[in-house]
Symmetry: D5
Subunit: 154 residues, 10 copies
């Protein structure tokens, strides 16, 4: 694989400022070097935080993103910056999770995409949101996330 | 997603009294912001307690609720209050678990719902109750609960 | 659910003597309060012991019972007493495990039943026996047992 | 050891009503059958719930009690009922935990007592309270509680 | 314990805005209801985030705070708000961790205080910072944090 | 089940010498007491060792055997002795694992058989061999082995 | 070490009947082959059961025995038979645990002995009993038992 | 199985130099001793390192390779050397992972091959790449990898 | 703390080439911002690799470094580069581990330093090396590393 | 450290035959490259097997060796061969464990040595043997072995 595909990336390598909102974040892509295969790419993002739209208090989540690239790969640093852009963004758990998935689908046009949002507990009850864009491509291999369940104490 | 959907909620934000019984508990709902997708919402509720109808002694359970919203989402604080309303309610394990599921189905009219009740041991033997409303919607992604099995000691 | 269904139970509440053998143990049942649904009931029984028919030495097992009630539920205290009745009963691992399943099938006439027997090691090699009464009812939800595998030491 | 020491117990065996408050709960004791030794008795109580004095909402805790009996043992069923008596009792985490320890010290007059309160999270932050009555008796063996730390999600 | 001690709290119960910086955050206290005992209070705070002073990128940490109250307890909601106030604060790992400890010592004047900062990896290497205010009070019971070590992958 | 089926066993009970090679080992069988059911028997054998045919150095493996008996059960002590007979036997990982499975198939004529060989690392890389005799019988219940993956250190 | 020290053992090797009570059980000993060293021997006994003296119901425990031999080692098969002899013995948790320790001390006259009894839960609350014969010999190495704590469910 | 099949191996046994690049690495093969069966061979390789093509910094991964041999087995020492040959090789995560799989497919012509690459985190976000050569052969048994998910800290 | 202390750092922020050997690696330091306290800084480095001086094959280790800063902190990026500089360095396990510790002591002049080297297995046997510079400073808090022990398979 | 210290090693690198008995095994040593420091070397040996002197059946153990070198290091390949030499050696658990420790002490003359033998269960009861040569050198750092306790099943 030639490295030219990374030539047009603006964020990789340098020190990029954190985007002020999801709308201002730019997702950069590179051509899929193996477009003939259906393979799965998984990003595990335990450093996610947004704001509660009602109380303004911070929310935290552990996100796991799975996708099958079609023509494009997401560049990982721009993905990181996109996720960081929720830092001052108010949004409900279900809405943030599904919204991130939809943005990525729109920009990457993947063959398939799945996003698990494992949110930290509020009121003693954590919420998980499990979204996928449809039936997985046939013959794909998708290991479980294996995220340990919440159990309170003890 | 506009926040207006939360306008009519009476319990969110304020300090709500614990309902005296399941019958007195009000489940509040909000419109599903993503009604076009089949996605799963999971609530993990390790703080559940009711009473044994025979002895009057407290029972405890760890509940995990999964559902696929149709037109409505359950508002999480009202769910918490509903679960707390069993605190003085006598009921058998199988009955409480299935009863909660049925109440939620009635009020949310979800596309699909699943409830796992993991009850604390009595007589050295814990009971689990696993209910679902039917065959899961096609193409849905439903990770395992992964609740660790009971093992006595050692 | 009315509590009348428990009216005829002789063992619940009081202090019941341990039956001397499986044959002498009485399994009590109550009407299934939710006969219209296929739901799973799981009992985890880490306190099981019987005797080796060849050496007379004690054997120990961790049992996990899953069943889908039809018309009847097994009353949990009578189940406990039935399991305790193997304390002085000689029987091989495979035979005890399958025999318990068959007795429960006979008395409960469940829609489906599964019994896992995880026996303590003899000769450095534990035996597990996994029995089910047939193909599970369609649309049933049956979480894994998740019993940790044996590994010797280290 | 003769069983006479249990003769005066009023709660053991029968079905005892849950006391309405800690004040109404009676802790029963039996003579220590081994008063010449310093040994440790540990009770693990994952089924504890009380009320928040400010909001009236339920709180949950996992308690682990360690003590070295002097002249008296606490009878375990009365201990269970005592803990259940907090079900409708408003109290802060620190206060409940230390208060339980003080009540037990007063009634048992043990050589030493330790109580760990592992409270379920509120506001995303669980509180633990670790109390002991003083320096442990010399030569005593006190294994760690080993309660798994809280970690949010992921 | 009377609840009057909570009378002067301004943040408890209501919905408090997130302070813009640590300097603007107010730590509220209540009188120690058990000033005669040396007991340990542990707060586990897995929801902490600040900014890297060099790159402006978010940093995340899991904090565990242990202290032995003297005259004052820290009120937990104000502690939460104080920790949230680092959300837009630039600071190095060692500096944030020790700075939080020093602020708490100044305001609570505890008998003893310990703070463990378990920071998320940067450059593949996480940093932990372990601070305590001095030798623990004699006879105190301080269970290990038991935070699982970092291990990369596999 | 009558115990007569064990009458002809020569190894059970007494002290049997370790066979010098797999060829010299005798696998003893007993009639399947439940030939009408498809149930699974699992043996977990963490005490297996053989020799490397190239270097003569010892190899170690953790074996897990699953089979569905037809007319015969393998007697567990003779299985143990058979496995011990590899102690001085040179053989490659793939060959030993599949060879054991084939020998058992030949002697037991089971409805189905599966053998997992989890070999200790050589050159920093462990090999696992997963063999099954064909498609499992319909309706059979086959829990995962759940053997923890190898991870090097850390 | 010569094997003559095992010459007088009556239980090793053969098939020994289970003693009917602890009193009838014989603990056999062999000379300590390394009497000049203080080393620790640990037996882990997860297969222990006795009877509740009040209800006659079975109790179960996981026992861990540590001792530093003086002149004698306990022969492990006779230890097993001694523990099995509690199968029909009524006794309270504290009493059984300390009683076993005292019997072993009397017969082995060890330099030091420790017994941990981890009892299965009754009434939702397990009891552990931790006994040691005194201060451990100086310079001895005694790893923790590491028995996982009880946690109810979830 | 005769050992002749190993006759032509040049690397086994002796001390082989580490190849300078993947291109220079030779994968050696041996005939499949059991070509009539579909069985799975799994190699777990926690010792993998390559270089980032942009920064030149080292990357690390934990690889798990599964394949179903057709006519050839890969010799494990040559596999180890091949993996080590990436030590000075610049390549992106997705490219290295899929490239290794393709090389192995080309040389082994297996019935089926799967490669999981679990890469160490960069920028706080680890990437996993899951590739398989197509739909697994019918009736094959393929246990999960069970690699523990990444979770940051806490 | 002012950020000026970072002014003279040459490696932070930019993209630094990997040093060719430990001798060529520069460890950069910054003034300890809290020189009045004894606190512990822990770096966990799961990405370490060197070469075997006899065979030239790669070795891997998981390192955990603990130190108590005196006048200087080590800058973490330069530490990372220093560790990476062993990539082409031949050295035995004991020698590398202790050598790294000595280099750090020389350059940082810390109050105390500890280094644990957890090496991947060779010949089926991993080696750990545990070094500390002397008795820890009084009153220091040093949590266990908690690195999971090696166990082969199963 | 110069590599000359390895010059006289006869086993390293080449293919060495397995010694027929412990007596025939040669332990090779190299000069301690850091004789001025007290540091701990730990070998974890999960591949140990010997024979029961009474029944001739194989025994298995997981050994963990800790020592503080004085003038000599043990060469790890010769240690492996020494341990393998017990393959046909009859010996009791206590005797093998302490015997290995004594042999190593004799040959290495270490400042201190500790050996933990974690033996696989016989009769349902595993034996651990914990030996150390005396009080550890002052200021030494000796992490726990952390070997998971035995627990039977469940
Ligand atoms: Ca909460
Ligand atoms: Ca119970
Ligand atoms: Ca699964
Ligand atoms: Ca055994
Ligand atoms: Ca093992
Ligand atoms: Ca919370
Ligand atoms: Ca990193
Ligand atoms: Ca690793
Ligand atoms: Ca510890
Ligand atoms: Ca719990
Ligand atoms: Ca990172
Ligand atoms: Ca699995
Ligand atoms: Ca986390
Ligand atoms: Ca190896
Ligand atoms: Ca055994
Ligand atoms: Ca158990």
């Amino acid at each position: 694989m030639s490295n030219d595909i990374y030539e047009n990336l603006s964020q990789l390598g340098g020190s990029s400022p954190m985007p002020a909102s999801p709308e201002e974040a730019t997702l950069e892509t590179v051509p899929n070097p193996r477009p003939g295969s259906d393979y799965l790419v998984r990003f595990t993002c335990p450093e996610f935080t947004s704001l509660c739209p009602v109380t303004g208090q911070p929310d935290f989540a552990h996100l796991v993103l799975d996708y099958v690239p079609a023509r494009l790969l997401v560049e990982s640093k721009s993905l990181k910056l996109y996720l960081h852009s929720f830092r001052n963004h108010p949004g409900f758990h279900e809405d943030c999770t599904v919204g991130i998935a939809e943005r990525l689908i729109e920009e990457l046009q993947p063959k398939w995409l799945r996003l698990g949002g494992y949110w930290y507990p509020r009121g003693g009850i954590p919420i998980d949101v499990f979204f996928q864009s449809g039936k997985p491509p046939q013959n794909l291999w998708i290991p479980d996330h294996g995220v340990q369940p919440y159990r309170g104490r003890g």
